[in-house]
């Protein structure tokens, strides 16, 4: 079978690409489009390092075929900041030292943004369960959760950035 021709809006940019059926959205992002911010940690949906938002929903890009992306709007880690203005979640990850090696960080930031878009005022427990699909082996999650809770406060306008 010839390759699929797919049109999608990626980080606000109308984008077209060709892919084979078995290529996942993650394969396409990394190998065809050159957006290597999404990481492959497991390729089985167990680590969350490849998290992206498709049509408003948080998913693992390793568990979606590239050809399914036709007609969708996709946000990857590269599309979270507005120009040189970091998203509050990104800013708080920096301030709280919520990253060590930084490999799980793109997935965690995308997932955290999706959390706060849906639930602006999560409890610590809600944040922990929402992020349970994002493995981090370096931090023990302590500073990650603090960063997310702090970012939520800023986004609710209860605290200056």
């Amino acid at each position: 079978m010839s390759k699929h021709h797919v049109s999608a809006v990626i980080n606000g940019e109308p984008t077209e690409f060709l892919c084979e059926t078995q290529q996942t959205l993650l394969d396409v992002l990394r190998d065809e489009i050159g957006l290597t911010g999404s990481k492959e940690g497991c390729a089985s949906g167990d680590c969350g390092a490849c998290s992206v938002i498709v049509d408003g929903r948080l998913i693992c890009s390793c568990l979606m075929l590239g050809c399914e992306a036709d007609g969708t709007a996709i946000t990857t880690i590269e599309g979270i900041a507005q120009g040189d203005h970091l998203h509050p979640v990104q800013q708080k990850f920096l301030e709280h030292a919520a990253l060590q090696c930084g490999f799980c960080t793109p997935g965690l930031i995308v997932a955290s943004k999706a959390l706060l878009d849906e639930n602006p005022n999560p409890t610590e427990e809600e944040a922990r369960y929402w992020l349970a699909g994002n493995l981090c082996r370096c931090t023990g999650y302590d500073k990650v959760i603090r960063a997310v809770m702090d970012a939520a406060e800023v986004m609710r306008g209860e605290k200056a950035a």
Partner: protein
């Protein structure tokens, strides 16, 4: 020179790390993120058998598949004799390393690399692997460490004879080495003890489980020059090991340190890079390789599983008079478990008059173990700290008081020889005892445990630089790949010496051709050793800047003072000059001697050991055996925290890994010797909802051998958690759980057995 804590302006603060923005925006480049024009994809064929002789490998069909550019086997590698050689990093048996990268005559574990292909696409490479015909003679296998020690066990290496015993054995054995430490006369001393506790403990192999699988891109040029882009804990290590394995001159290899997605010891050796170079040489094209998560579990190093026996004898007042430990560590397919540190670390925290320790390094049909955070110590301490808890209960003594009574202090001679100096164990115990957590009330069904941990910390060879740019901004260079934020601490130390804000210094990690040799990032040595190098480089820079100011002002250099990033005349006698800042001095660099900057290479000595005391609260669901960790406090002697957030991060991350080791993580094998849980679904590392906030308490007992008093901090925190949680479970249930992981089925079975005993 040593800096006075109260004078510090940068060290001890919490600036944003220099590589932070790259990492939160997805721009940081890790091992798998590199591409080169003409690049091929390399893939590895792995043994499906736990133990098999390789009769033949026929790759002719694979080679004919369109798109396949090269196939390699161990025949494409030089034959290396079995000997421990030094290539900068300390002893390594390069024959074993070579055989681990691509099997020679035998596959020693399921997942052992047998052949590799390079093809134009990943799909073609996968298809090619299926076309390689390997004929195996399947051999009996052995997985468990004590089974492997039996006389009738299948032998992995016909040329392996147990070292460390006399007379030298005449029969090959899976026991590679026996290590013994003796102090005093333990046998006699046990007879004088009022109370004896004994236990037999087991641990399972656990994986470092860094989220980034191993990955590299290698290019072998027609002129024999090689470039390696890979994520590792030491790009100089990668360079040296590849050179040795492939017979290439070291200067012909340039290794570039990509960002590394976690290592914890697991990326201190090579798996893919030599294979990728061989494929690149054969195909004439750059070759990219990356492991799948399954490959990572099946073929890269976990740490040892073990069996440990501990016996402690004490007087009624709590003083321990005799201690014995027997440790049997799995090494995997090749010798080299961390049995040495295992034998040393268990009792290193205590002042014990009579000690017997025997350790065994044992091969079996599992992946070759690699270092994992404080290699060897967590296994040994799980056993010893569990036994200490039992001893405290038997003596009806507070577990912290028992440790204070026997705790090592300055002047304590360890059972392995050296006498402790400038250590902070008692201060750490004191801080734990005074922490509100230790006294907080518990609800019924909950339990609290404490346990301690020790790690030597190491120094070693490091290079770092300090360069003043033309506009007076500062570039610091470090030869150490940055796993957890060391660029921040390196830059901060340079900034402190120069008297400028942390943000004024950019820290980078040059490739192996652009900075002096540096040992791997491991053993908690970077902030200590590379930090010492950058401090000296910055100090030389300051001296040079003072000389230049003196030259400009035409006054003696002794009359120049350096403060807050500027040269001042030292007092009114020196003359009335406007201070010269870095920008002003940089502008005049051409007229005062040329570029400003120094690189310092050193072999750092005097890494002070670190101690940790952890307190864990748990709740046990007695019907399911599930353990919930409710509260966790980790107290640690950190010397001086250069960037406290990243010190806390090391402590929190180590503790969380320990919680996983304690409760759920393990390698599970089926009856054919194949790993049954090679993925994040069933190899269960803690997820965010599994752990509570982990309070990191930093006790600062300065290390006088470091200019800012730093000690290594990364290893210690993984040592205490397993026993801390086991002791908390004992407190909640009355049951001693001697086998890791303390998973729900095991705990429920133990609860049921206890109920049967009490009702009988």
């Amino acid at each position: 020179m040593n800096y006075i804590p109260s004078d510090l302006k940068v060290v001890g603060t919490r600036p944003v790390r220099p590589d932070g923005v790259e990492k939160v925006t997805g721009r940081a480049q890790f091992g798998a993120d590199m591409r080169m024009s003409g690049m091929l994809w390399g893939k590895v064929l792995r043994s499906p058998h736990a133990h098999a002789r390789i009769i033949s490998i026929d790759a002719s069909k694979a080679e004919k598949l369109p798109g396949v550019r090269a196939v390699v086997t161990s025949k494409d590698f030089p034959h290396i004799a079995s000997e421990e050689a030094f290539v900068g990093e300390g002893p390594m048996n390069f024959r074993d390393l070579s055989r681990n990268c691509l099997a020679w005559d035998k596959a020693l574990y399921e997942g052992h690399a047998v052949a590799a292909v390079a093809a134009s696409t990943q799909a073609i490479a996968d298809a090619a692997l299926a076309l390689i015909d390997v004929k195996y003679e399947v051999l009996p296998h052995v997985i468990d460490v004590e089974d492997a020690m039996k006389d009738d066990a299948p032998i992995l290496h016909e040329d392996l004879f147990t070292a460390g015993v006399t007379p030298t054995p005449s029969r090959p054995s899976n026991i590679a080495k026996v290590v013994t430490f003796k102090k005093g006369d333990a046998e006699a001393a046990f007879k004088s003890a009022d109370v004896i506790v004994e236990g037999r403990y087991t641990t399972k192999p656990v994986h470092q489980a860094y989220i980034e699988p191993h990955a590299c891109l290698c290019s072998y040029n027609a002129d024999g020059q090689v470039t390696i882009y890979s994520s590792s804990q030491g790009h100089f290590m990668v360079r040296a090991y590849c050179a040795k394995l492939l017979g290439i001159e070291i200067a012909n290899i340039r290794a570039v340190a990509m960002e590394i997605g976690g290592g914890f010891g697991g990326k201190t050796l090579v798996y893919l890079e030599p294979v990728a170079i061989a494929l690149s040489k054969k195909s004439g094209r750059p070759v990219k390789m990356q492991m799948t998560r399954e490959d990572v579990f099946r073929a890269s190093g976990p740490t040892s599983g073990a069996t440990i026996e501990v016996k402690l004898g004490a007087k009624m007042d709590g003083s321990i008079v005799a201690a014995r430990e027997i440790l049997k560590y799995q090494a995997g397919g090749f010798p080299g478990s961390p049995i040495g540190p295992g034998c040393m670390c268990g009792f290193a925290m205590y002042d014990l008059p009579n000690v017997d320790v025997v350790g065994y390094d044992v091969v079996s049909n599992r992946p070759k173990v690699a270092a994992y955070r404080a290699p060897g110590a967590p296994i040994s301490s799980f056993a010893v700290e569990s036994a200490m808890d039992d001893l405290a209960r038997k003596l009806n003594m507070d577990p912290i008081a028992l440790r204070e009574k026997n705790g090592a202090r300055n002047g304590t001679k360890t059972h392995y020889g050296p006498t402790h100096q400038n250590i902070g164990f008692l201060a750490t115990l004191e801080a734990a005892k005074n922490h509100p957590h230790w006294k907080a009330p518990l609800k019924p069904g909950q339990g609290r445990g404490i346990a301690c941990g020790f790690w030597f910390n190491i120094g070693g060879e490091s290079t770092a630089g300090c360069h003043i740019a033309e506009d007076g901004s500062v570039v610091a260079t470090s030869g150490s790949p940055d796993i957890g934020g060391s660029r921040a601490s390196i830059g901060m130390m340079a900034a402190e010496v120069l008297g400028v804000p942390a943000e004024h210094v950019r820290t980078v990690i040059p490739d192996t051709s652009s900075i002096g040799f540096t040992h791997v990032t491991g053993g908690s040595r970077v902030t200590f050793a590379t930090g010492m190098a950058v401090t000296q480089a910055a100090e030389r820079t300051v001296e040079d800047l003072k000389r230049r100011a003196a030259q400009i002002w035409e006054i003696p250099v002794e009359a120049v003072e350096w403060k807050d990033g500027k040269a001042f005349p030292a007092g009114s006698n020196a003359g009335a000059f406007e201070p010269l800042d870095l920008a002003a001095l940089a502008m005049k660099a051409g007229r005062t001697g040329g570029p400003i900057g120094f690189e310092v290479s050193l072999n750092a000595q005097g890494a002070g050991p670190g101690f940790g005391v952890h307190i864990a609260d748990v709740e046990v669901d007695k019907e399911t055996g599930a353990v919930k960790v409710l509260r966790y406090t980790a107290v640690q002697d950190v010397g001086k925290a250069i960037h406290p957030s990243y010190v806390e991060g090391q402590i929190q991350g180590g503790a969380a890994q320990g919680i996983g080791w304690a409760l759920n993580e393990e390698y599970i094998y089926d009856k054919n010797g194949k790993m049954d849980n090679a993925g994040f679904l069933d190899y269960r590392v803690p997820v965010a909802s599994d752990v509570p906030m982990i309070e990191a308490v930093m006790v600062e007992v300065p290390n006088p051998r470091h200019p800012f008093g730093a000690r290594g901090v990364g290893e210690v925190p993984i040592v205490p958690p397993m026993a801390a949680i086991a002791n908390a479970i004992r407190s909640a249930t009355g049951l001693r759980m001697p086998d890791l992981p303390m998973s729900p089925p095991k705990l429920r079975a133990a609860l049921d057995a206890a109920a049967r005993t009490s009702s009988a």
